[in-house]
């Protein structure tokens, strides 16, 4: 058909690993709170970079404040990145999670 098939041939041995088990999404809109967790929080909080959040019954308000304000080594996240409604979902997920449940 076009150059693409040539690339496919070329890339026959190239490896492509999908990002985690989240449903991939490139629309620029988060599909779920789990997706935000996987593609933002988990890169640090499930990766030995930041404290584990799951299974700790963290208080929702506390998580909200930390995410919006940032804290020490934790960067802040703006509404334009994660809307209030989506963040509420992430907070619920995190605060009610069992240990290791969101990996």
């Amino acid at each position: 058909m076009n150059g693409l098939s040539v690339f496919r041939l070329l890339a026959i041995t190239a490896t492509f690993v999908a990002a985690g088990n989240a449903q991939a999404d490139s629309s620029g809109k988060w599909q779920s709170s789990q997706e935000v967790y996987n593609k933002v929080c988990a890169y640090c909080h499930e990766a030995n970079v930041a404290p584990v959040l799951t299974g700790r019954n963290l208080i929702p308000q506390y998580i909200q404040v930390i995410v919006r304000n940032g804290n020490r080594a934790m960067p802040s996240f703006r509404e334009s990145e994660i809307s209030d409604a989506t963040l509420a979902g992430v907070i619920k997920l995190v605060s009610t999670s069992a240990p290791g449940a969101l990996k």
Binding site: A18, G28, Y43, A47, N48, V49, A73, M74, E79
Partner: protein
């Protein structure tokens, strides 16, 4: 005046500001004009060693289109209110999402996040400012397109446009990001929309494939500047190589840097190694391993050389750790691999292949970055000192061994004087190197914060005296850094500013440019 308002742009009366805000709300809708302290908080989380107040925004706006930006600029010109555009706003250690000067309105373009086009034949993309590398990665994955991009370490949360306009770098063969951009759309202060290069011509379909266009090539003046708001960027993508062979070479002694650079330079210039070679010091690797500083050093002051040696032995980390990759077919990589082996053997380095790297966090995130796979592994750096203080000191150096040792020693001495560790790496561009040092400090400790400021100041001026300039700077030091580059360049920049933004409303002070 809005009773809750605490911060205003310099020289703007509260009543005037209120009027402007009202007009902005009419254009953008109430919810896209942020004024409350709580909603503005994420725009004021900085890592620099200066008070938050110095970089507090008066408001933030989140336009969704070029037309909205054009309308907003008319209002801002009328009231002479300055605006600070950000794209993904993750310029961490360089100013984050906060404005360069207190009181500027942040124009947050994160909502404009369309991947407008990916051409799989020509291997190009056209993106808006709010697109993240993660989003682009997902896009290519979903469509099973065998195309790679280059990204900086904070890849998952940062984006190609914001990174490119600050002339950031990454780790694939396309790592010098401005070099691999092709065509921009820019909204000028007077609301005109400029497309650079071939994009200037109506109906052109070569905007993303030929950079120069006709007459002067203007793209450069929209990077590290404040002459326009970039709303689209073309970028080149790399065909995924059939065979990718990342590797690390570890060296036991700090002084080895001389022979490492001299041995690798010819391979880099000849493109046997096509990507930016990173030469990372022990103390960059340790926090990303992760090693705890407190296990090796307690109390004030910089960590001792003896402790650094112990870390190397305990955790199998080199004094220097070279990262690079071979990108090609199996046959070409087999041939080039022999060269790499010979160079490592000849210089006393120990090769770690991808196979052998399994289980090492520090190696894994690097190997992923070398194929443009997003992660945030490098944020381990912030656990080293703790407290969220960081500024990057990143002088440019020639890719010559003698230069690196000299720069490293000078930096280490100055850092040590203020009680900070040398956490550094050299990123070999092509003939240059970015000597990137993360000045890590505990920002919750006033004394350390003051020392970090003084330390950066001394680093900057000592290096400048030797003729070494930084490739990029944090917003707190923008003016001082600009001054190190001499008066003529600055006067030209000012003339351009006057011509393009006579009311000085676009990010005045960014990179030291203002009227």
């Amino acid at each position: 005046m809005n009773a809750k308002r605490k911060t205003l742009p310099k020289g703007i009366a509260a009543g005037e500001f209120d009027k402007a805000i009202k007009e902005l709300k009419k254009i953008l809708g109430n919810e896209n004009v942020l004024e409350d302290e709580l909603r503005l908080a994420p725009y004021n989380k900085i890592m620099m060693p200066v008070p938050n107040d110095q970089h507090a925004p008066s408001a933030a706006i989140t336009p969704a289109s070029v037309e909205e930006i054009q309308a907003v600029l008319k209002v801002l010109n009328k009231y002479k209110i300055p605006v600070y555009p950000i794209s993904t706003g993750k310029n961490l250690g360089y100013g984050s999402a906060a404005p360069v000067q207190r009181g500027q309105i942040v124009m947050d373009l994160r909502r404009m996040n369309k991947i407008i086009e990916v051409d799989p034949d020509l291997c190009t993309a056209l993106v808006e400012p709010g697109v993240t590398y993660q989003q682009l990665y997902d896009y290519l994955q979903e469509r099973k397109l065998p195309l790679w991009f280059s990204c900086p370490a904070p890849s998952a949360i940062a984006g190609p446009l914001g990174n490119m306009v600050d002339r950031g770098v990454g780790y694939t063969p396309y790592g010098e990001h401005f070099l691999f951009s092709c065509g921009m759309e820019v909204v000028l202060a007077n609301s005109e929309v400029l497309r650079t290069g071939m994009g200037a011509m109506p109906n052109s379909n070569t905007w993303q494939v030929f950079k120069w266009g006709y007459g002067p090539t203007l793209d450069g003046i929209f990077t590290q500047s404040n002459y326009g708001i970039v709303t689209k960027m073309g970028m080149w993508l790399m065909p995924a190589p059939p065979d990718f062979r990342p590797f690390c070479i570890q060296y036991p002694n700090e002084a080895d840097i001389t022979k490492i650079v001299d041995a690798l330079r010819p391979l880099r210039i000849a493109m046997v190694i096509p990507n930016a070679v990173v030469i990372a010091h022990t103390l960059w690797e340790a926090p990303c391993t992760p090693v705890k500083r407190a296990d090796y050093h307690t109390g004030p002051g910089a960590i001792s050389d003896a402790a650094v040696s112990k870390i190397q032995k305990d955790h199998n980390i080199g004094a220097w750790n070279v990262y690079a990759g071979l990108y090609g077919t199996k046959e070409t990589n087999d041939a080039n691999w022999k060269i790499i082996e010979a160079v490592a053997a000849g210089t006393g380095g120990k090769i770690i292949t991808e196979e052998q790297s399994k289980g090492s966090q520090a190696l894994q995130y690097r190997f992923d970055l070398m194929k443009g796979k997003p992660n945030l592994g490098e944020f381990g750096l912030y656990n080293w000192r703790g407290g969220g203080g960081s500024i990057w000191f990143a002088p440019v150096s020639q890719a010559k061994g003698s230069e690196t040792l000299k720069q490293m020693k000078t930096a280490k001495d100055i850092l040590g004087k203020y009680g900070f560790d040398y956490v550094g790496e050299f990123i070999v561009g092509w003939r240059d190197m970015h000597h990137v040092i993360d000045l890590l400090f505990d920002r919750s400790d006033d004394d350390q914060t003051k020392k970090a400021y003084a330390c950066y100041d001394e680093l900057l001026h000592t290096f400048a005296k030797e003729g070494y300039g930084v490739y990029r700077s944090n917003t707190a030091f923008a003016e001082k850094v600009a001054a190190t580059y001499g008066p003529v360049k600055r006067s030209v920049e000012k003339k351009l500013k006057k011509a393009l933004d006579p009311n000085n409303i676009l990010a005045p002070g960014r990179c030291g440019i203002s009227l």
